[in-house]
Amino acid sequence: MTQPNSVTLNVNGKALTANAAAIDTLLTVLRDQFLLTGAKRGCNQGVCGACTVLADGRPVRSCLSLAFDCDDRRIDTIEGLNDRPIMQALQRAFIAGGAFQCGFCTPAMLVASFALLQSNPHPSEAEIRRALSGNYCRCTGYKKIVEAVFDAAARLPADTAA
């Protein structure tokens, strides 16, 4: 039987168990217990978006989600999405387009962009800006990120499976 202070999460397709307190956030468990540090703690308040991961395919702020509340959801982090074709298209476009500088917001920006292209493979500029508006970047001025997402979308074959 599961101990009351442990939680088992479905992360990147694997069942992982962590010692956690009821107040521990998904972000804390991902980072400190599973050493999945691609999601970052930028504000711990759900504003900057640097902690974005997918829960059941939708972008969520892992700093606002309690780990225990996620035990029935499929969690995907940047580390688990790295081999997905849409993610690889985005990564290539981000690299070629210079869409990051310090890179601190980048994993979350890519996760949010991945979720966008999954649901809307050919977004307009306005749709990209709206979909990513909860992800802060203090380095780039955003222009090259928009261009990179646009570019990745254009290069995706119509039938690309996510």
């Binding site: 307190a21 980072r31 050493l35 999945l36 540090t37 691609g38 999601a39 970052k40 703690r41 930028g42 504000c43 711990n44 308040q45 504003v47 900057c48 640097a50 982090t77 940047i78 580390e79 790295n82 990564q91 981000f94 690299i95 070629a96 387009g97 210079g98 990051f100 500088q101 310090c102 890179g103 601190f104 917001c105 980048t106 994993p107 890519l110 500029e125 990209i128 800006r129 709206r130 990513l132 508006s133 909860g134 992800n135 802060y136 970047c137 203090r138 380095c139 780039t140 001025g141 955003y142 222009k143 090259k144 990120i145 928009v146």
Partner: protein, 779 residues
């Protein structure tokens, strides 16, 4: 001289850390873990100004899992740090001087436990009167914030006196004659607000001490060497006992140049004898790192009726906060740049910096220039309007030209400012469309502004090693804070040695092994370190040729490097040897391993004493000027006063773009950070308490505020002293943004707003006529 090859310099190579950054595997300070590591937490001051009577740590110390508690009692009185004035302890000692100042720290088994223990420390204070504005601080009856300021060690003639931290004055020409020769004089007061850096990564550090007492320290930083110096000074340690290293940096805009928590974390690790990690919360990062100085500026300019600038007086008053930090530098530098890139024969720029009971203000991208440029460039538009001149024509008439000197008398080696201005005029459609238009419920106008910055300051080195197999290791000690300097320096090295980028790796800065680098700050890495990379590579080239000459039995002068890691007889490329052969021989047979090194200090004097008189100059050698012009198209909502930047163009003379895509990235990023400064970013205090230290309450620009049409324009003036003609780009792009936006808003609404940020209420108030135009024009 060989014609430069195009395969490295001038190419938009991707960041060499790109795969790490897009895969989520790049490690920043919070991503590092050490075996047996403890977590640190801080207790911060609840008072703006109070004497510390005593600490009661008994309850905190008794908590199971608490391993070390440190307070000001662990520090000696003379252990003080500071870039210009040694006025700051690692933790408050004797007194607290602002709300949020670290007073004590705890190392414990978990972060939660460390925080609980820190909260359990009882500190007895005797409250003192707080001084919250520079005016108040400089009044005769103000409570003195640093009683022994006169005795502090200072690196320049600061003129410190009571709460006056420093003062600086530049005089050139004869200002009284300037006023006499002016036909019109314009004078007004301007105010700018404190801005938070908000690098997405909060500051933090990890320290550990080995059994011999030597400390290793990883931290979010902009210079491992400044970290080493600050920790050594503030903890009384010999520098050699401290090794400073760097993980990836989640951006630094000045906030990570001087210390944040590094000395405290080292103190904890030494006391706990275990590794300690402390990452600031976002709130702490707002409250106790540093921020952009609020400026109060009086700007007075005299002109001839034909639009020729004759005289300028600038007077500034800076709130420095509780400690000197980089503030004396910001004061001096803002004055040096306060006349903009214009010919003004008679100048008097002077200012004061006050200690107050607020968090320290310090370096922030632009280093005081965005503030004085806001005043100077909006006044330029006011003058143009009064004289009936087009703002761009008026600027072009007065711009510095070939052969002109900067304020103070330093020669300008390369100057692309008029090209910047012409480029934004052309691309913005300035001359072909009316500047101001009215829509149904909005008004819209174009605005423009110019600025300048520097690229050269202090000292730097580089070491280039040819490894046994002919590959190359570059080591500069320059921390890449995210802007891509590792890539830029590798490109410069590749160009110098004519090898593909893949042949070179760049070492991570480490005070044990890297040559000194003052820091990734002041837009200096490309120009300063790039020059050292070329120098070190030249020594490697010479040694390669000496080796190859013996192998090929010819004179070294008859040899040349051939692309791809070969050295060949000039004109006979097939008579060659590889770097691998040369390096193998050097390692095992003759000559010794091939190592090239170079170091230098920027030595161009800021001031020519025959031209200018200066008091309180914090940096006697600073220069290598870059230039910019920004144009914006701004819409103002008639009903709400809300301003939106619809289109923007920023042209920067960077000398030469080593990597054009990265140059664009700097210009675009600087523009949007400047947009936040212009329109809405503002740290707000209620009395002594910062009331918006969260991202919920302090907004930075998002995808929605950044203009979709944002064009970075690269102007290349090919500086004769810069590496491959390069100067700098890190800061220049932010300097004129607020001024250009304000000029557009002023043109749109027909009223001059002289205070930032241009929030909807402030703009609306101006439109409704309740903000009077305080400027005066005298004939």
């Amino acid at each position: 001289m060989n014609k430069p090859l195009s395969f490295a310099v001038g190419q938009s190579a991707p960041q060499i850390e790109a795969q790490e950054k897009v895969s989520g595997s790049a490690q920043y300070i919070a991503d590092l873990y050490r075996p047996n590591m403890l977590h640190g937490a801080l207790l911060q001051s609840p008072h703006a100004h109070a004497r510390i009577i005593g600490y009661d740590i008994a309850q905190a110390a008794a908590m199971p899992g608490v391993h070390a508690i440190v307070t000001g009692d662990d520090l000696q009185e003379h252990w003080r740090m500071g870039a210009f004035i040694k006025d700051e302890h690692a933790l408050a000692k004797g007194k607290v001087r602002y709300v949020g100042e670290p007073v004590a720290a705890v190392a414990a088994e978990t972060e939660a436990l460390a925080r609980a223990a820190a909260a359990a420390i009882e500190v007895t204070y005797e409250e003192l009167p707080a001084t919250l504005s520079p005016q108040e601080a400089l009044s005769l009856d103000a409570a003195v914030i640093h009683e022994h300021a006169a005795d502090y060690i200072k690196v320049f003639d600061a003129g410190t006196n009571a709460n006056l931290c420093s003062r600086t004055s530049f005089q050139e020409g004869d200002i009284q004659r300037g006023w006499r020769e002016s036909e019109l004089i314009f004078e007004a007061n301007y105010q700018t607000q404190p801005q938070a850096h908000v690098s997405l990564e909060p500051c933090g550090a990890i320290a550990e001490m080995d059994a011999n007492g030597r400390v290793s320290l990883w931290s979010a930083n902009q210079s491992v060497f400044r970290v080493q110096a600050n920790v050594a000074e503030s903890l009384g340690l010999p520098m050699s006992r401290l090794r400073c290293l760097t993980p990836k940096i989640g951006a630094g805009f000045g906030n990570k140049m001087e210390p944040h928590v590094q000395p405290i974390v080292v103190l904890l690790a030494m006391k706990a004898k275990r590794p300690v990690k402390l990452i600031l919360t976002r709130e702490q990062d707002f409250e106790m790192v540093r921020a952009r100085h609020p400026f109060q500026i009086r700007m007075k300019t005299g002109v001839k009726r034909d639009g020729t600038l004759v005289a300028r007086e600038v007077e500034v008053l800076l709130d420095g906060g509780a400690f000197g930090d980089d503030s004396p530098g910001v004061l001096g530098y803002s004055l040096l740049m306060s006349c903009g890139p214009y010919r003004i024969p008679h100048v008097h720029c002077h200012g004061r910096l006050a200690y107050t009971n607020k968090m320290r203000f310090g370096a922030f991208r632009g280093f005081g220039v965005p503030q004085v440029t806001f005043a100077g460039e909006t006044q330029m538009d006011e003058i143009a309007d009064a004289l009936g001149l087009d703002p761009i024509e008026f600027r072009l008439k007065n711009l510095k030209r070939e052969g002109d000197c900067w304020l103070g008398g330093q020669p300008i080696e390369s100057n692309g400012v008029s090209e910047c201005l012409e480029k934004v005029r052309a691309v913005s459609g300035w001359s072909s469309e009316p500047r101001t238009t009215r829509g149904g419920e909005s008004r819209r106008a174009l605005g423009v502004a110019c600025s300048a910055h520097i690229s050269g300051l202090l000292s730097t080195g580089a070491i280039v090693r040819l490894l046994e197999d002919g590959t190359i290791l570059l080591n500069t000690g320059s921390v890449d804070i995210g802007q891509g300097s590792n890539t830029i320096l590798t490109q410069i090295c590749a160009e110098a040695l004519r090898v593909p980028l893949e042949l070179i790796s760049i070492a991570s800065p480490d005070t044990d092994g890297s040559p000194y680098n003052w820091g990734t700050t002041a837009s200096r890495v490309t120009y300063m370190t790039g020059t050292s990379v070329i120098g070190a590579a030249a020594e490697v080239e010479r040694k390669i040729k000496d080796q190859a000459a013996e192998i090929l039995e010819c004179a070294p002068e008859d040899l040349e490097l051939v692309p791809g890691g070969l050295v060949a007889v000039k004109g006979i490329p097939q008579r060659n040897v590889s770097f691998a052969t040369v390096s193998g021989r050097a390692h095992w047979a003759a000559g010794g391993p091939i190592i090239g090194s170079h170091s230098w200090v920027f030595n161009q004097k800021t001031v020519d004493p025959k031209r200018a008189t200066v008091v309180g100059l914090p940096f006697p050698q600073i220069g290598a000027f870059v230039f910019n012009a920004t144009a914006v198209d701004v819409e103002v909502d008639d009903t709400t006063g809300k301003c939106k930047v619809l289109r923007a163009w920023s042209a920067c003379d960077v000398g030469r773009a080593i990597n054009p895509q990265m140059v664009e990235g700097q210009i675009e990023g600087a523009f949007v950070q400047g947009l936040g400064f212009a329109l809405f970013e503002e740290m707000v205090w209620n009395g002594a308490q910062l009331i918006n230290p969260t991202l919920m309450d302090y907004k930075i620009p998002t995808f929605m505020e950044a203009p979709s049409e944002l064009k970075a324009i690269i102007v290349e003036s090919h500086d004769p002293r810069g590496p491959y003609g390069a100067k700098s780009v890190g800061e220049i792009g932010i300097n004129s943004v607020a001024a250009a936006i304000t000029n557009a808003v002023n043109a749109a609404i027909g009223v001059r707003v002289r205070r930032l940020p241009l929030t909807p209420p402030r703009v609306l108030e101006a439109m409704l006529g309740s903000e009077t135009t305080a400027g005066t024009a005298q004939s």
